[in-house]
């Protein structure tokens, strides 16, 4: 026997914001989970198993918080599973949940990813100083900025590409009621004039720090066939990992990302992703990662990704829309960020993306990455049964 078919039959997410002062930790995750169940027209009792993902536990200061949240997530008497693969965790959590259906173990799996970053703060939780380690002089952006510079040098991309990406994503976010940042006055010049935090990365080209959660209900073919609304069929899932620091790795266009994309496209029967994929939701915490990932994932040749940005191909009304939801640049509850990408891809092929719907989207890609560009998770979803 091989893999069973699996589909996304429900999607839910919270309103993302810097501090969700109106909810408890349990209230935050339940807000997303209840919306996913309602979307699937299911109740807590219908769920067979719960798969939870989040990034470092230090954010909320709760060790293995899924145990505390077990009853809030309706998991009592059921299997409860917790994934942590750094920043890619939202994506890998969805994949682990999907596999429980694909393996024929469960019919309906609720998967939830979250981060309540306001319980502490990102600059603290992400850069806890470890004795004897070479000091990080500039936080997370200071790690990634040199790799962006390398990309610019290698690709000869002009400086304004990063601005164009940020403008697009923040503009898309205005159409997404759940997005954290709704910057109505955003403009090319306002981004250009924002402070160079980590030259070549401007402040307005970086992601915010958000409280938020995302949830999905994944279901077997029989359940999905009986679903009340459109579902997103999973055509392929893939994960790849590589070392943080090793001699032969390329931190700009990592082999793990390329291998992951090749694997997931092969599963989905996609030979020309640029033509066969209708829209992509990818993990872009700094604007320059859009052209980098376009190349890494095979949507453009090495050195050519920035041209898709400059030519408007990745705009919401372009030929290959990227980050229709506003992306990580507009909402970043870290543990949930990967799942939000996967969920947006599902919403698009279900025709449920609201104002940021891409007309006629039938095949969409969700992508997440984490660590020092070393953990990758992707899925391809489609309107049609694979």
């Amino acid at each position: 026997m091989g893999k069973e078919r699996v589909a996304v039959v429900g999607v839910g997410q919270t309103k993302h914001q810097a501090t969700r002062g109106d909810v408890s930790l349990a209230g935050l995750v339940r807000e997303a989970a209840v919306r996913a169940l309602e979307d699937a027209e299911m109740t807590w009792a219908d769920v067979d198993a719960v798969v939870v993902g989040k990034a470092p536990d230090f954010f909320e200061g709760v060790m293995m918080p899924e145990l505390y949240l077990a009853d809030a997530l309706g998991a009592v008497g059921k299997p409860l599973f917790r994934v942590h693969t750094a920043g890619s965790v939202g994506g890998s959590t969805a994949i682990v949940a999907a596999q429980l259906v694909q393996a024929g173990i469960h019919e309906r799996v609720l998967t939830v990813a979250f981060e309540k970053q306001s319980d502490s703060e990102a600059m603290w939780a992400l850069s806890l100083p470890i004795p004897f380690q070479p000091p990080m002089h500039a936080g997370a952006g200071g790690y990634f900025a040199p790799h962006v510079r390398s990309y610019m040098a290698r690709s000869k991309a002009p400086d304004h590409i990063g601005i164009l990406v940020a403008l697009k994503d923040r503009t898309n976010a205005l159409k997404n009621p759940y997005a954290h940042l709704h910057e109505h006055d955003i403009s090319f010049d306002s981004i250009k004039d924002s402070i160079m935090l980590w030259d070549p990365i401007r402040y307005a080209e970086t992601c915010p720090s958000s409280d938020g959660a995302c949830a999905m209900v994944l279901a077997s073919e029989a359940v999905a066939d009986a679903a009340p609304g459109p579902v997103a069929w999973i055509h392929g899932t893939a994960m790849r990992s590589e070392p943080t620091m090793s001699a032969d790795r390329d931190p700009v266009l990592p082999r793990g990302g390329a291998d992951c994309a090749r694997d997931v496209f092969a599963q989905a029967g996609i030979t020309n992703p640029r033509r066969q994929v209708d829209c992509v939701e990818m993990y872009v915490p700094f604007s320059w990662f859009e052209p980098m990932w376009l190349e890494n994932l095979g949507f453009a040749a090495p050195g050519e990704g920035w041209r898709l940005v400059e030519d408007g191909v990745t705009q919401l009304d372009g030929d290959l829309p990227v980050n229709m939801s506003g992306g990580v640049l507009s909402s970043n509850p870290i543990g949930a960020s990967g799942m939000l990408r996967f969920a947006e891809a599902a919403l698009q092929v279900r025709g449920r993306a609201g104002e940021h719907q891409v007309d006629g989207a039938r095949t969409a890609v969700g992508h997440a990455y984490g660590g020092g560009s070393q953990f990758f998770a992707m899925w391809v979803v489609g309107s049609d049964k694979p």
Binding site: E66, Y68, F81, H84, V96
Partner: protein, 352 residues
Amino acid sequence: MIDVAVVATAQMPNVRSETRRNEVEMLMPVLQEVRERAGLDRTEIGFTCSGSTDYLSGQAFSFVSTLDGVGPWPPIQESHVEMDGAWALYEAWVKLQLGEVDTALVYSYGKSSPGPLHEVLSRQLDPYHVAPLWPDAISLAALQARALLESGRATEADLAEVACRSRRAALDNPNAQLRWDRSVEEHLAEEPIVDPLRRSDCPPITDGACAVILAAGDRARSLAARPAWIRGIDHRVEPMALGLRDLTTSASTHQAGQRAGVGDGPVDVAELHAPFTHQELILRAALGLDDHGNVNPSGGALAANPVMVAGLTRIAEVAQRILDGEAGRGVAHATSGPCLQQNLVCVLEGDR
């Protein structure tokens, strides 16, 4: 379902404090040993999954640097759970069910020595109402122990018997940390530390690591003379709040045990993840093993309790006995959370 078996296991000898090596240095020999025992090169592993927690040693993303010990190049298919390694094994078992890969490496590591373990574990508890009180794991277990004793289903001597038998069994386990031959009377003569528990009712604090290789179908048969087939595996969870549970029983263990098929055949050996003596009695009852004569021949978690590892170790111990031809069919159990909140049961069996 696709038949999946444990084909090799390896453990780091458990110690109170691994002071010289960091986590990747401590893990690497275990990974190397398990691959050698399976006869697999690192490039022949189809899927890798590990279990660990950042909180034990106080490092965010600690699993990222230990991944170096796997040699993940070219890039590998890999995942990590913030759970005991037994659940990493569960994820790998699910992955093998998909039929895309036929080997998997599962490992977990836990260094409890760098931090104040009892304070660290209290960070698992309800962050609003319980964690601010900093209750320690021994105190929580003692509440459960008293509930069991006062239910009339166990006596302090029963607890002592578990402790003495476990440490005596550990005399034959080269990986054990605590091993001795003492009598029930000697145990009962100890002053309690948190009434009704005595120090000998409690697990040691341990640094350790464990690794297992899984393989599917014919691949398993080619890698081991007598693969330890996973006949059933299931896990269930209860609410964390102690007041919401009957602490004298383990409903989730019972549920998982039934679904894993514990009662569907004879049990030659059982390894139960019971960090505290009374918990073995609760688990035995939940699994229908009340009077079983071969529970925790390794000494169990009372002989070595590396947090995040001790559950996977139980599976490894049962599997190794099957691989070695010493047992036909066995039950392994892993737990997580305060007072047996979450439980996994795995039934393993060798070919006749």
